[in-house]
Symmetry: C2
Subunit: 405 residues, 2 copies
């Protein structure tokens, strides 16, 4: 096969979250009648006012940015300098470690943009990159796109209770085998589990020992449920030249429509990321950057309420799931994802997911987007209208009953 054709054949998007519209419509011979109810798309959060609207003041900040004209439209490629200074202070306070906005921070078009720039700044064709299983679906594709090699590290999230369950022996094996880059999300996407302080300390120690760069995607690190403690890798005992942290306001803050992300850490890597950004997209949208002025500056109590509302949905959905015989799910400690392992079904997972959409108006993402092993799991983003989400998961439970092996 032509190498270019082969390369793109591996890069699928049809099962990716948000792309379901591209799948063939209609039911393909499902069991039983349609279930009535409000359609819920769990492939991503619902940013409508009936669910979780954007941070107050976001649109006003955008309009004010547009009114500033050219200085806001054309920022440095790494983002507006003054804004980076402000954000660096807030991110330093949040993560517990100093940050230089001039040298150690870049604004990107979404966190996806930040992830691409970070990985492409650390790895090239032939290099090895350690990737968690399961983890955010694009991590694997990013490595494949670069022609680099994935070294998988398993996470025993269903059996471990104290921490994420990262197989540290496998991470060390990956480093021993030559992986110089490790990419992971914390809180983990899709499971919602958090790495313990001990796990983070050991990841840091291994990275130091093998001189590896760690890219940590902390997209959901603000949405922590009660009783949870979170450890920022960049504040751990790790060589600061070897860490990049990625965040953004698109999830908890529901600002996804503006496409904003940030990456911060080692100045020499941020420098590379800016050079790459010049090539792939120039800069985060100028006017949208202005919206970041609202980030970490939300109204008093707003974030607490947002967490409380998500925790209430989480708990109600867990109740429904835990009544399904044979279904296993770990309680998410952060973020808005649930990743239940389904009981054995009589149909392949991807067929079940399509029946679910056609028969119950419920969209979920198959577990295979996160790990090739997870042909038994589905991911739900429960940042949704509370009532609609519970009813949708009740329909999901009924369909599991119909399709049970």
């Amino acid at each position: 096969m032509n190498p270019l054709v082969e390369k793109f054949a591996k890069l699928g998007t049809d099962n990716a979250p948000g792309q379901e519209v591209r799948q063939a419509a209609g039911d393909v011979g499902g069991i039983g009648d349609k279930l009535e109810g409000t359609a819920v798309d769990f492939s991503h959060g619902d940013v409508n006012p009936t669910a979780f609207a954007p941070t107050p003041g976001a649109i006003e900040a955008f309009v004010a940015g547009e009114a500033r004209g050219g200085s806001q439209a054309y920022t440095e490629y790494r983002g507006d300098g003054a804004l980076r200074g402000v954000l660096a202070e807030r991110l330093a306070a949040f993560t517990g470690k100093a940050l230089d906005g001039a040298r150690e921070l870049i604004l990107t078009p979404g966190t996806q943009g930040a992830l691409f720039l970070a990985i492409a700044s650390c790895a090239m064709a032939g290099d090895k990159v350690a990737i968690m299983r399961p983890d955010y679906f694009a991590n694997r594709k990013l490595v494949e796109f670069l022609g680099a090699e994935i070294v998988p590290v398993e996470m025993d999230y269903l059996n471990v209770r104290d921490g994420a369950g990262i197989r540290l022996d496998e991470l060390e094996d990956a480093f021993k085998a030559g992986a110089k880059t490790f990419l992971f999300s914390n809180p983990n996407n899709p499971t919602g589990v958090i790495y313990s302080a001990a796990e983070i300390a050991q990841i840091a120690a291994l990275a130091n020992r093998y001189g590896a760069t760690v890219i940590v995607d902390q997209l959901y690190s603000r949405l922590l449920y009660s009783g949870v403690s979170y450890t920022h890798l960049r504040a751990a005992d790790i060589d600061a030249d070897n860490v990049v942290t990625i965040m953004g306001p698109s999830k908890t803050e529901s600002l996804s429509g503006y496409r904003l992300g940030v990456a911060f850490g080692a100045a020499h890597l941020i420098e590379r990321m800016e050079k790459l950004q010049a090539i792939v997209s120039l800069r985060a949208p100028g006017y949208s950057q202005a919206v970041l002025s609202t980030w970490f500056a939300e109204p008093e109590g707003w974030m607490d309420q947002r967490i409380r509302l998500h925790q209430a949905i989480r708990d109600d959905l867990l109740d429904v799931f835990r009544a399904v015989p044979g279904l296993t799910v770990r309680t998410p400690e952060a973020g808005s994802y649930l990743f239940p392992r389904l009981p054995r079904l009589a149909v392949p997972l991807h067929d079940f997911v399509r029946h679910l959409r056609a028969q119950a108006a419920v969209t979920v993402t198959p577990g295979t987007e996160f790990s090739p092993h997870r042909i038994d799991s589905i991911r739900l983003n429960f940042s949704q209208n509370h009532v609609a989400a519970v009813q949708a998961v009740e329909r999901l439970a009924e369909l599991i009953g119909r399709y049970r092996a």
Copy 2:
């Protein structure tokens, strides 16, 4: 050298348009006193109301998009389906050839995003890509980033009057040498010249003969000066499976703060581009996409006036330049760039450009960003306040006098 370090060492951005703020500030021993006057940054267009403000209705379209909520925030990766349908009709009418919005069009974060996706869909490490000299500065960097090889094709824009002056023999040599991709801008950036109908026909014929894919960046193809005729490559006699056209509303329409671009053409390439977009940025900003509803639907007479105003600035700047002994400049036929070749200077071009900024508050882009040979030229984006632009070019003329060899 470490291959990754080597790769990034080649990717510079410090002299790229818009990045001048990163250069060391202050004058470094220039000749003579500072020249007073309004600072003008010719590295990009001025989108302030005192120069060329965004299309009427743009911010209102954005605000309406934000109010639509989730459906506007989360579009397909290739962009909102309904909007693509509308734009396809308008782009078909503009280019004179049918276009299927469902299969042949993708919305991207800026035209830079579109260029990256297009090139990366056609070429990989080791492949040869034909690139014009001079041409848009990022084209060369895109090819280098992919590890592909640039096969340069010269453009004799200063001596030819009928057409751009593409050396078609060199293009054929590039194809013979194995280049399967040809990327060029039309109107040409930085010179503002247009390829003649005969040149486009021959590019098409050569692409057909050698089975090469042509990516044509038509970013400025709406801003045509009086008496000029423009030929759309996609409407020429060329294999439709081998053409991708790139446009966007960031220049003539001054919508750069929204970061929007489009690519349209061969469905199999658009498909690849979407797969890549899923990796590098997911999608064009959701709310910003709504602004494209104003594109090719500007108020009656608005575009004509915008062209007239630019043509008046062009003509006044040309008058100033042509009074400078030894300076050569071709009259731009489209777009808002001027690319004068300066008389011989006593200092290297990059030093002159820095003196110009420090002593005369005039920012221009060195010709070397567009062709390694153009150590004698500078590019100016004259989409500026008319009076300020003329005065700035008068100061530039004075500094040429001071630094003349």
